[in-house]
Structures are given as C-alpha cells and as structure tokens.
Symmetry: C2
Subunit: 538 residues, 2 copies
C-alpha cells in the first residue's frame, strides 16, 4: 500500500455508510476504506502513513462551472481597491511588477480617485513613476475608464493627433497632449493593443490558478476557458493543457467547457475530431458551452416576460430559437453534450426546447446536457429538468449577491420558484455545485454555507431566503462531490470515497456535518489529495 490515511473521520458520501477512520491508497486509487485497525493492518514497509489527527475527510470537491484561465489571468492584474492615494497605486504596482518580471504589459483594476486624498484621476505621468519600459493600463473600479502610461501610448500609437472615437473620449492636457485617460468606447484602443496571450502565458496562468484551487480542496474543475481568448484561438488553450499534463503540472482534473458560440466554429471543432469525453483522466473535452442570455444585475437575463422593475425590457436572448436548436443539434450529432448559461427562465425554456428537439432528431439520451446557473425558473421548467435528464449546475454563493435584487427584478411570484435547488434535487435532478469564478470566489465552504443557510455571507436575511429551499449539509456536500462527478460522467471513478475510485480527497479542520450552519463558511481546508498525492497542505 502506498499511503494510509488514518485516525480521521472519513465521510465516504456513499449511501448508507457510517463514518470510517482510514483509507488505503495504492497507484492513485482507493483500495480500501475502514477502521484504523483494518486499514493499518495493510501497512507494508513502503507505506507512507498520514495521521489525520481526528480531522474530517471528504471526497475531493468538484467546481462544476468556473473560468480557470480568466481566474489565472486575474491573478496577473494588480488590484488597487486598497489604494488611498496615488503613491499607494504606484507602490502597489511597482511591487506587483517586480515579482512578475515576465509581464510584457501590466494590467490593473479597481482604482477610484474618490477614496484618494488627491481626489483626481491618475495620469500617464503618475504611471511613468512605475515604469517607462513596460506598458500598463489600469481600469477604474467602475470599468468605464482606463489610464495608461507613456510606454503604452507609444505602443498604441496614440498622439496629440489621435481623434476621439465615436462614443469615446481620450483626455488631453491644456497643450493637447494625451493624458493617458481613455473613456467608454476609447477603451477599445487599449484592449486592441494588449499583447496576445502566448501558450506560455496561458500555462503560467492556469498553473497559478490551480495552485489556488487546491487550497480550496478542489480536485476537478469544469471550466470554460475558451472565453478568455478571441473566438477560434482555443488551440492555444488545448496546447497549454496538454503541455502541462506532459510536464506533470496538472494539479486538478480538467473537464473543458468549450465555448464555441457560432455554428462555423462548432463545426470546425467537431471536424477536428473533438467530442465530449475525449482525453485522459486529467484533461478531457467536456461540453459545448453556450451563453443563452446575460445577467440579472444588468437586466439582460432573458425572462420572456417584462422585468418587474423595468417593464420596458424582457431581457436579451443571445440566440434565436433556430440558432440555438441548430447549435445543440450539431453538438448532439457530434457526440458533444451542451452546457448552456441560462440565468432567466426565457433562456432556459429556449434551451430545454433545443435539447428536446435534438434528442428527438438524433437520440443520444445519455448525453448529459446541462443548464448552468438555473436561477430564474417557473414550475413547468423545474419539472422539465428531470424529464429531459438535464443536469443543474448551480452556484449557491450567488445568493450572496442576488438575494437583495431577485424579487425586485422578477416579482414575488416568479421568485418563489427561482433558485429552487432543493425542489430540483428532490425531483431526482442531478445537482452539481460550482462558483463561476472569477465572477465570485471559488470557496466551496462559502458555497455550501449559502446552500445550507440560504443567507448572504453577512448572515442576512435571518432565517434564510426561501428557506424551504435550504439543502442539508449532506446534500450540499453531495452537490460538490458526487453531483459534480455525475456531471462529467465520472460516477464510477470519482465523487465518493470507495474502493476503486481515484484517491481524490480533501481534509477539513472541522466536521462539516457537526458544525453549526453559520460556521461552515469558516471551515478551513487542511489538505488536498489528488491521485493519492498530497497537492496542498495548510
């Protein structure tokens, strides 16, 4: 036996199993689960013993929907939220850059002059104090304004003669020299100048991202990465993953949610021979990822009925029904499941229609099509999930942002059947938990806390929001373990702690099933194990 974990509280998440105390691992596979006495009897001279010191072990977590590359990219953007003056901004950026000599363009975000003693925008001259060699661009907290340094202006070819683009403005001083400030549509000038990501850049970002994921106990991510590059450049991402795997640097299993948002792009991808499940135990092609609508905050989630707080709009579907039907049928024919972003019930209805039509035209009923987000739903839609065997990818910690706005946006009646994850689960739908990181933090403990309490991270509202939709801690853990495994066709090899499954494990500092619900978010990850190897230890 290679490794024996003992003296723990091992929740296998197998139906009917009592907690065990020890797990034996060989060749990356769980060989046996049982009492210390039984498992320690399997010890040989080669066995490494790992004393869990009474701590709680669970199957490694799956994040069923996030954006690993964008998250890794975000780690290379300096964050100015804490700055209280321009000197702070300069110091933060200098320190950040000095630790990352590989950066060929420094990006930053989150500055807000309102919180600064100077009270004014930064300019190219402030930024030149950081570097005149490395171009840089820092976005204001609002997202609508970017400031760049002189080197960036030079690279972009912006001079006193550059005119404002339509709908945008380039600030200039009293002598007509550009100040480095780009507003609204003028930001495109900056975006277009950013260097393309190389395969090396992508590898570094993925690797840095995975280093953080393992700290959260995550051992598989179902990740939409293609969105981080211009359409059609996905080969660089596939190359990056394959190189990382060859170099032994994948710390987390990857099920790639492939954003291919147009018919020609999807057809090209399929013609290259790709399909769901292609790959290795560490990296596989997952579903076709599509965005069927926008967001609730921006009222672009498609409801197919007027917003309660703005009857002039019903939200915006990204595709016509015909386009969506054709995309999903094409995926179906090519052996790709679809995972479709639907925040609004109108988008989800369209997606259910497309799935049903594809299943009828080209029956492959075990393709586990999925709806990602599943936020605004009505009763008939909730029932369709089970009928069409559609997996629900939920992000429980979204309630932290959404509780205050849902009822305003969609009204009381539709709210009652929305974010109805307990109803979905109890009707036999497979629920998979995730984060949508970097949209929100990928802390699994935050997600479980929100699913169990139906409260924001600050504890509001008392008693929880739509409290009949609370999941038990066991159900919530299941969403991040067995549920996530089902979503990537892995129920035979992952998702519970059982003989024959991958030794993907996580150790918590407290017993999540004994903890008070409000304390779950504070539980710490002690250790993460992938294929029997410790990839993180606190």
């Amino acid at each position: 036996m290679d490794t024996i974990f003992y003296n723990g509280k091992v929740y296998t998440m197998e139906p009917g199993w009592e907690p065990q105390s020890a797990v034996a691992v060989q060749d990356g596979i769980i060989q046996r689960v049982g009492s210390d006495e039984e498992i320690l009897a399997l010890k040989t001279e080669q066995t490494e013993l790992a004393d869990l010191q009474g701590k709680t072990m669970l199957p490694g977590f799956t994040d069923s929907h996030m954006h690993l590359l964008s998250y890794g990219y975000s780690l290379e953007k300096v964050n100015f939220y804490s700055a209280r003056c321009i000197d702070d901004l300069v110091t933060l950026a200098k320190d950040f850059l000095s630790q990352r000599p590989y950066l060929t363009w420094l990006q930053g975000r989150g500055w807000n002059q309102e919180y600064w003693k100077e009270g004014r925008f930064p300019t190219r001259y402030d930024l030149d104090r950081i570097s005149t060699d490395v171009p840089m661009s820092f976005t204001r907290a609002c997202g609508h304004i970017i400031v760049v340094n002189s080197k960036a202006l030079e690279v972009m070819g912006v001079t006193r003669d550059t005119e404002d683009p339509f709908g945008g403005h380039i600030d200039k001083d009293e002598n007509g020299e550009p100040l480095g400030i780009f507003r609204e549509a003028a930001r495109d000038t900056v975006y277009n100048a950013l260097p393309d990501l190389t395969v090396e850049d992508i590898k570094r970002m993925l690797k840095n991202g995975m280093d953080e994921l393992v700290k959260a106990g995550i051992t598989e991510v179902q990740t939409d990465d293609f969105e981080a590059l211009p359409p059609g450049q996905y080969q660089k991402i596939l190359d990056a993953y394959h190189q990382l795997e060859d170099e032994g640097l994948l710390k987390v299993r990857i099920f790639e949610q492939c954003l291919l948002a147009s018919q020609p792009l999807l057809e090209q991808f399929l013609a290259e021979g790709h399909h769901t499940g292609e790959g290795t135990p560490m990296f596989r092609i997952g579903p076709l990822k599509l965005m069927a609508d926008g967001s609730l905050g921006g009222r672009t989630a498609y409801l197919a009925r007027p917003y309660a707080d703005d009857p002039s709009t019903e939200g915006i579907p990204v595709f016509t029904q015909e386009q969506l039907d054709q995309l999903i049928l094409t995926a179906q024919q090519g052996g790709m499941m679809a995972a479709v972003h639907c925040i609004g019930c109108g988008a989800a209805d369209m997606t259910m229609h497309a799935i049903e039509a594809a299943q009828l035209a080209c029956p492959k009923p075990d393709l586990r099509h999925a709806i990602v987000h599943c936020q605004i739903t009505d009763q008939p839609l909730l029932e369709k999930f089970a009928k069409l065997n559609v997996v629900a990818h939920i992000q429980p910690a979204f309630v932290d942002d959404d509780i205050p706005i849902v009822e305003a946006r969609v009204g009381r009646e539709l709210t009652r059947t929305s974010y109805n994850w307990k109803t979905l689960q109890d009707s036999g739908v497979h629920i998979a938990g995730g984060s949508d990181s970097p949209v929100i933090d990928f802390s699994v403990m935050n997600g479980i806390y929100c699913a169990v309490t139906r409260q924001r991270l600050n504890g509001e509202p008392e008693g929880g929001w739509l409290p009949d939709q609370k999941l038990t801690a066991e159900e919530a853990v299941r969403a991040y373990t067995a549920g996530g495994a089902y979503a990537s066709y892995d129920e035979r090899v992952r998702g519970t702690i059982r003989n024959g499954k991958y030794a993907d494990l996580v150790v918590l500092d407290k017993d999540i099933f004994a903890a008070a619900p409000e304390d779950i978010k504070d539980i710490k990850i002690e250790m993460t194990v992938l294929n029997g190897k410790t990839v993180y230890r606190r």
Copy 2:
C-alpha cells in the same frame, strides 16, 4: 419515436422520482419518461402506442444468480410427482415424449412408489410400455434410485453378467436378469451412459428456459451454466449462446457466471482471452464462479464451528485457503471478478480472505467480487462486505425452505446475524436479488414477498422471521433492478427507468407498492419488454 407506453404507473426506481405515466422508446433505448401529455406529444406516424391501462411498470428484473441451462434441461425431464400408479407414470412419460420427438434419451424424476396403489418399484418392463426405441431413466424422488428401460440397458451394455459396483446395487429378478433398477453408486452407470449434450441441445434448453424467464419479467440473468456439463466443456455453451444471439433468439440478457473450479481450467479460460465484461449487450462473460462450500440442509455448508444439531461436523470447505487464494488471485490478475457460493460463515470468511489478499497483491478495487447466498454470517463478516466492496447475491425465497432449519443447524446466536440482508443493505452494500433456479422457482414476486414479509410462502411464521431484517417493497424491488444492474457493472445502462438506459421493462397487474405484503406473491406479470420490444404478454 418507435414506441410510447402510456397511461401507466411508472416507477422509475430513480431516487427522488415521483411515479410517471409514460415512457418513450426509440432504437431500444428509453428516450424520455414523463406524463402522458408530455410523452404522447412525441408521437409520430411511425410510433406504436402501448396503453398500459393504469398498470404498474418497473425496470425489467435481474435474477442475479441462477442456472439457466440446468433449468432448461429440467424442462426436458418428465416430472412424476403427480403419479398415483404405474399407469400414471406410463401415460405422463408417453405424452411428454410424444411432444418432444427430438429427445434421444428420456429422463424423468420424482416417482415414489409409496404413493402408488401397486406399492412396488417400477421395472424395465413397465417402462418398455412407453418405448423400446428411446432409452430412458427415471430417478426416484429421493434421488438415490434410478429405473431404466430395456433400450437403456442395451445401450449401457448391462446384462445378467454385470456385477454390482462398489457401494451400489443393480436389482435382478429370480432368473438373474437385470430389472432396470440402479441404487446408490450403481447410478453412475446410468449417468455415464447419458448422451453428451450437443450445441443444438443446449440451444434448445436455453431457449426454452428463456421463454419461461420472460414470463417472470426477467430481462437479465446472471447464470452459472458451466456446471451443467462436465468440466472443460464450456465452449459448447459459449457457442450455443453466440449462435442464439446471431439468430436473434436471446430474449434475456446473459451475464455468464463461469464455473471453473480448478486452477488449470481457470488458467486455460484466461489464456483463451476471456475476462469479465467481454461480450455484447446481450451476452457477456461475468465472474469466475466458485463453490466454497455445500448446503445447510445437508450440513455441508462450512461454518468453521460445530453445527448446533450435529457437533461432530463443522461443514465442509471445498477448497483449502491456499487453493481459494490462488484461484481468486489468478482471476484478479486476469481481469475476472469472482462470485463465490458461500452458505456458511466459514466459507464466506475464507472467501473474504482470498478477495482481500488478491486486492492487495494485484489491486483492481473496482472488480466487483461477490458472495452468492450470504446465508450464515456473523457480525464481523457483515461489516466486511462494505469494507471490501463485496456484492451480496441473495435469494430471498430461500427463507421458504430455510426458516424451519436455520436455528436448529447454527444455534440462536448465529441465527440472529444470519440472512441479515437489511443490515447489509443499510451499511451500503450492494444487494442483488436472485433465485438459484432450478433449486427454487425464479418467481421474482415470490422473492420480493419473502424479502418483505420474511415469511414462508404459506405465511409462517406470523410477524416474520428476524423481522428487523425485513426489506421495504422498494428496497426489495431495488435488489432485483438497480442492485442486479450494479452486480453486472450496468448501473449506467440498466436497473432504472431513465433516459439513455436500455428499454428493459416489466408491467405488473397490480401496484406492488400499494399491495399488502402478503399479496405480493400473487401479483402477475402482464408484459415484459427487452430493448423496447415486447417479449412476453400474458
């Protein structure tokens, strides 16, 4: 859609699912489950509609352990239990033979002169009234005496000069002529003369057997057939199945439990390239089947402690520990799971030891080794099932025979932890239901009745035997559906009614979940569906 079943009460056996009313099938696969309204909307011109008339539909049943070939063989043996005189015997045999012109040797069983008005044994001369062309041999109810006709004597070469074998007796008349009666060891003379089964014989027996199985709603059997032929002749059985499949005559899925009871035979089988899972959706090689002990009735079940009602014996293990270890290790190395007949706790202990040793020496923890029967068990043994992930193949209707004798055989204390199927199930062990036919009838309704009531078919004892071990009807149905599917690695494709699974279905005349437990055994099978095709209708 090829077929729509509607207006039914469809219990999918999927966790969380409410009863549905309709199922849509195409290409042999379940495409959709839902309400009549939803499913009938999928109707096209080609669709065949099947009105279930409110009746109950379940997933097709699995019999996880039986002997299909022996059962089919038994259908070619005339049964004399109802005979009340020698004329009855002659008439029964004549009728039977006239309907089966293909028989080259007529076998019979169950005669007992004690119930006859003549009060004497039948002789060759009585049997010659049936036929003097076809040899025949009829076994007495006790099994210890066989009578044959003159043609059989001729074929066997038995004359007045034939001497009694050691331990046996050949009856002769006052002139020294053999009467056709063979006692004890003399029976071997008859057995050795029986014609070898040809592939055609085997096909006919399997086919006749399957015709009966579908009447019980069974759509897969896990069957030990090799035991019906002399060791090493299994190729004829494989040929028979392959020919039946090619001819489209397999009505039931087969998972062959391969009895290969010696090391050279097992090694030969593996060297031929066989392994568990080899085959097609209709016929697959299953486990290595082994017999680790005998029976409780005959006190040959190995207890490893004295029998309560005969302290002179502990039962008889078939193998030494070393032999069993070696067989199971060889299977493990060759990618074959083992399914081991263990009635007694001693045999089960030895088997658990062998499984554990094999898993340590050559880890393949997803090989779903199984113990068949699981009757006499103690507490440590019950716990081992879950720990070693050993599947329990149970035959609930065995309690009909065994209730009166268990406590006498093994004492009160060991009885309390025996036939403990509820305990096994609640500890997360996968339970698969079966019959051991032709040892007992393969009626699934009898099996479920016995599992739920823990009573004999006559209703005794009141309140049930070890009543804390009663399964619920749902749990018992699960043993014959999802449990059986797990045992043959089929949880993705069989065992519940869900999109993407084989359309293997059964319709009952009553709702098994609404029926009183004592009425379950009287529920009738209305219809059996395999791959979407109706293979039986009452």
